[in-house]
């Protein structure tokens, strides 16, 4: 691993500005030509220069600069022809593992994991949901028990809805370490080696016919205690931080006018005049308007984030995205009539990262978007989250927060 070379341009008082970061990027790309440098090597050097995430500390891919300045770095890198930052397989690594390691990881964990994560050498997945713990994540039953002889943890249980588990080197795992404690207090957070003995990954076939996700069966999997993140019993606190990042990731994608399904629907309407009816016209125009409203809301959210004032609107936008995608794909089937009765492919297969989704039928989108209101927090639970955390309304009366997990009805 190369030693960290802080980028030139830091002011003597340590403060960074967008201009100084831009010139740091210019220096960087003149030393590492993106056109000729191997991508892993390029990203590694970028990490070492502190330009991976400028708000991370020096030595861990950052410069300790304000987070808002990252966009100046990214714009400059894009202008210089650097490879795009599309996360693809690395969504969990970049979007969840990195911030969790930054906030809760110890020095050794940051040193070991952040660099290969950023260079895309190591793929990450997230082992949270279980068959018995969906919305109620804190009820999860996967056990991690200490092995007094070795100091390791021994993990047994089943996880579900795990993206890229079959490609992953590492997993973010929440497991129960204190079943005698109330459910939120008895959880701990681990980094699990997905190639370790006892980890079995099986594809999970979904309503669309294919398998985007996996089930992961864990049988006597050993995790060294050095791969525990945060204190024993702090798993809920660490996991809550990760989930928040997931909602922002799903709810706030910026896109151009008529991006996504709205564009497909508008083009279908324009290209197929024989399918038009007055009722469908009304529905299509309403959907177009609602899609614009959401696009602008996501754009406003992005601008707030860039200005350093992230807003709480992400959860609400996620609810609306799910509902609108479902409406638009159903509307496309109505419009297609007889063609809507067909389906393109029921094959049980794993989609490839470079699959062209735009070639899939509207039947596929109709089914796939049903997952949008479930994944990353169901619409019903998110409404509670907004009501309680954003509007400050009182929580539902609950009986499950104070009694030991092992005594809960299930």
């Amino acid at each position: 691993m190369a030693s960290a070379q802080p980028a030139r341009g830091a002011r003597t008082d340590g403060a960074w500005t967008a201009d100084r970061l831009r010139s740091a990027v210019q220096d960087f790309v003149s030393a590492h030509d993106p056109a000729t440098t191997d991508p892993v090597e390029f990203l590694g050097a970028l990490f070492d220069a502190g330009l991976a995430w400028v708000h991370f500390p020096p030595g861990h891919g950052g410069l300790g600069a304000p987070r808002a300045l990252q966009s100046a770095v990214d714009d400059e890198l894009t202008a210089a022809g650097a490879p795009p930052r599309a996360p693809g397989l690395h969504t969990i690594g970049l979007g969840m593992a990195a911030p969790v390691l930054l906030t809760f990881g110890d020095e050794a964990q940051k040193k070991r994991f952040l660099r290969p994560l950023f260079t895309r050498e190591e793929v990450w997945c997230q082992l949270f949901s279980e068959p018995g713990a969906g919305s109620d994540l804190a009820a999860l039953a996967t056990r991690a028990e200490p092995d007094e002889a070795t100091g390791d943890w021994v993990v047994n249980g089943q996880k579900v809805w795990t993206s890229v588990a079959h490609e992953a080197h590492w997993g973010l795992l929440v497991a129960r370490t204190g079943p005698e404690l109330p459910k939120h207090q008895g959880l701990s957070y681990f980094l699990i080696d997905m190639r370790a003995p006892g980890v079995e990954v099986r594809p999970l076939r979904q309503a669309t016919g294919e398998a985007e996700f996996n089930e992961v069966f864990l049988t006597d999997v050993r995790i060294p205690d050095t791969h525990r993140v945060g204190a024993v019993g702090d798993g809920w606190k660490v996991a809550s931080g990760t989930l928040m990042n997931e909602r922002v990731a799903i709810g706030a994608g910026a896109m151009p006018r008529e991006g996504g399904l709205a564009g497909g629907l508008a083009r279908l309407w324009r290209e197929r005049p024989e399918l038009r009816t007055p009722g469908l016209h009304s529905s299509v125009v309403r959907a177009w308007v609602d899609a614009e409203a959401l696009r602008l809301t996501a754009e406003r959210l992005r601008q707030q984030l860039a200005a350093g004032h992230p807003g709480p609107e992400g959860s609400a936008a996620k609810i609306s995205f799910a509902g609108l995608n479902q409406r638009m794909s159903g509307l496309a089937l109505d419009l297609l009539g007889e063609e809507g009765l067909g389906y393109d492919d029921w094959t049980f297969r794993r989609p490839e990262p470079d699959d062209d989704f735009s070639t899939r039928s509207y039947g596929f989108f109709y089914l796939r978007t049903k997952g949008n209101s479930i994944e990353g927090g169901t619409t019903e639970v998110l409404r509670n989250v907004i009501a309680e955390r954003v509007l400050g309304l009182p929580p539902e009366p609950r009986t499950d927060k104070t009694i030991p997990w092992k005594d809960l009805p299930r």
Partner: protein, 375 residues
């Protein structure tokens, strides 16, 4: 459709600073209790408050350049004022005078009356039915004869406190826009108050009988100027509606935390929480859409008509949904005359009909975004 650089949808520092003294002034001079008293009187418009907006805060001509007597700011700042006036359902002729007539006079390069209007010394009203949408044919209910106007215009907003009217009329030479000075018109102009659904924006019918008039724009220029005024009005009305919706949401959230039934705050029931969570999402979307329309106006964007109709198509429905839910979630007290929520519902629904319904604006969106109707 080509990707354009995203408009700035946030509020800048100047806009934030503008909001603070205005909100304080409205809380002091226009509390809801006083409004409930005012609606029992013959003076539904608050002329003192209007004078304060002009003389004390200097915000009646924000969009007008300084050399023409304005503040030299822009439509973004005007929109922030409208948000606050909507939040207070303030009975002042801001939309008519500082938006509709001001936009028309600026578009027509008129500089004799504009400074007086910008300073708030002379409130002005655009003499069209308040339901008039952009994209409609030029009004023909008023005729020009020589240099005087005759005819009637019904349901005009902000005419009652106005000192000057901007009247679309047709003559032998075609359409024209004319200024009528009400202080000099004597009995050639009669304003008849209408019993209006919106108690905080009372409409009036106007009858002109050979009223002396001065032309501002003629022919196709008159058509263009009127369209600019209506499009500007539609775009900015969304900000007023946003303020109305915000009041409804925050007031309801506060109420359901306090109101207890079944031994619990009613805001702890999921049926109530989920409805408010959805309204929160709706209002945050309305804000993005309203800011987008205002940014398009301010930048003179080529798609301003589309952005304005998009704003009306979305926000008109959002504000009505929010106000209706506010009344419902207040329960019995929300249905009384003594609680102000009905003032907001009346403003919400009337504003949704104003300057084109959501349905009419969806038709304009369909036209401008190339989504042709079924034949």
């Amino acid at each position: 459709m080509s990707a354009e650089p995203a408009a700035d949808l946030l509020y800048n520092e100047v806009e934030d600073e503008l909001r603070i003294p205005l909100r304080a002034l409205l809380a002091d001079r226009c509390p809801t209790g006083a409004l409930l008293t005012r609606i029992e009187s013959d003076e539904l418009y608050d002329t003192k408050l209007w004078a304060a907006l002009g003389a004390e805060l200097g915000i009646t001509g924000l969009s007008v350049p300084e050399e023409q007597g304005g503040a030299g700011a822009g439509w973004r700042e005007t929109a922030v004022v409208l948000e606050e006036l909507g939040r207070a359902v303030a009975p002042v002729p801001y939309l008519g005078s500082s938006v509709l007539v001001t936009a028309a006079l600026m578009a027509a390069d008129e500089s004799r009356v504009l400074p007086e209007v910008a300073a708030g010394r002379r409130a002005a009203a655009l003499a069209v039915p308040f339901s008039t949408s952009p994209g409609r044919s030029f009004p023909d209910t008023v005729r020009l004869s020589g240099s005087t106007l005759s005819g009637t215009v019904t349901s005009v907003a902000d005419a009652l406190p106005a000192r000057v009217l901007l009247v679309p009329a047709t003559g032998e030479a075609g359409p024209g826009l004319y200024l009528v000075d009400l202080t000099a018109a004597e009995d050639t102009v009669v304003l008849t108050p209408r019993r209006s659904l919106d108690l905080t924006r009372q409409l009036a019918d106007i009858t002109l009988r050979s009223a002396p008039a001065v032309p501002v724009a003629l022919g196709t220029e008159a058509i263009r100027v009127l369209e600019v005024a209506l499009t500007t009005g539609a775009a900015l009305l969304a900000s007023e509606q946003l303020g109305v919706a915000e009041w409804c949401l925050t007031t309801t959230v506060t109420y359901v935390k306090e109101r207890h039934q079944f031994g619990r705050p009613v805001g702890s029931f999921q049926a109530v929480k989920h409805r408010l969570a959805d309204l929160y999402g709706l209002v945050s979307q309305a804000r993005a859409v309203a800011r987008n329309a205002v940014a398009a106006l301010d930048a003179g964007s080529p798609t301003v008509a589309l952005e304005a109709s998009l704003a009306q198509a979305f926000v008109s429905e959002a504000v009505v949904e929010t106000a209706e839910a506010a009344l419902q979630l207040h329960g019995g007290i929300g249905f009384t005359w003594e609680h102000p929520v009905h003032l907001y519902l009346k403003r919400a629904k009337s504003s949704a009909l104003a300057l084109g319904t959501a349905d009419r604006h969806r038709s304009l969106v369909a036209l401008l975004a190339d989504l042709p109707p079924a034949v």
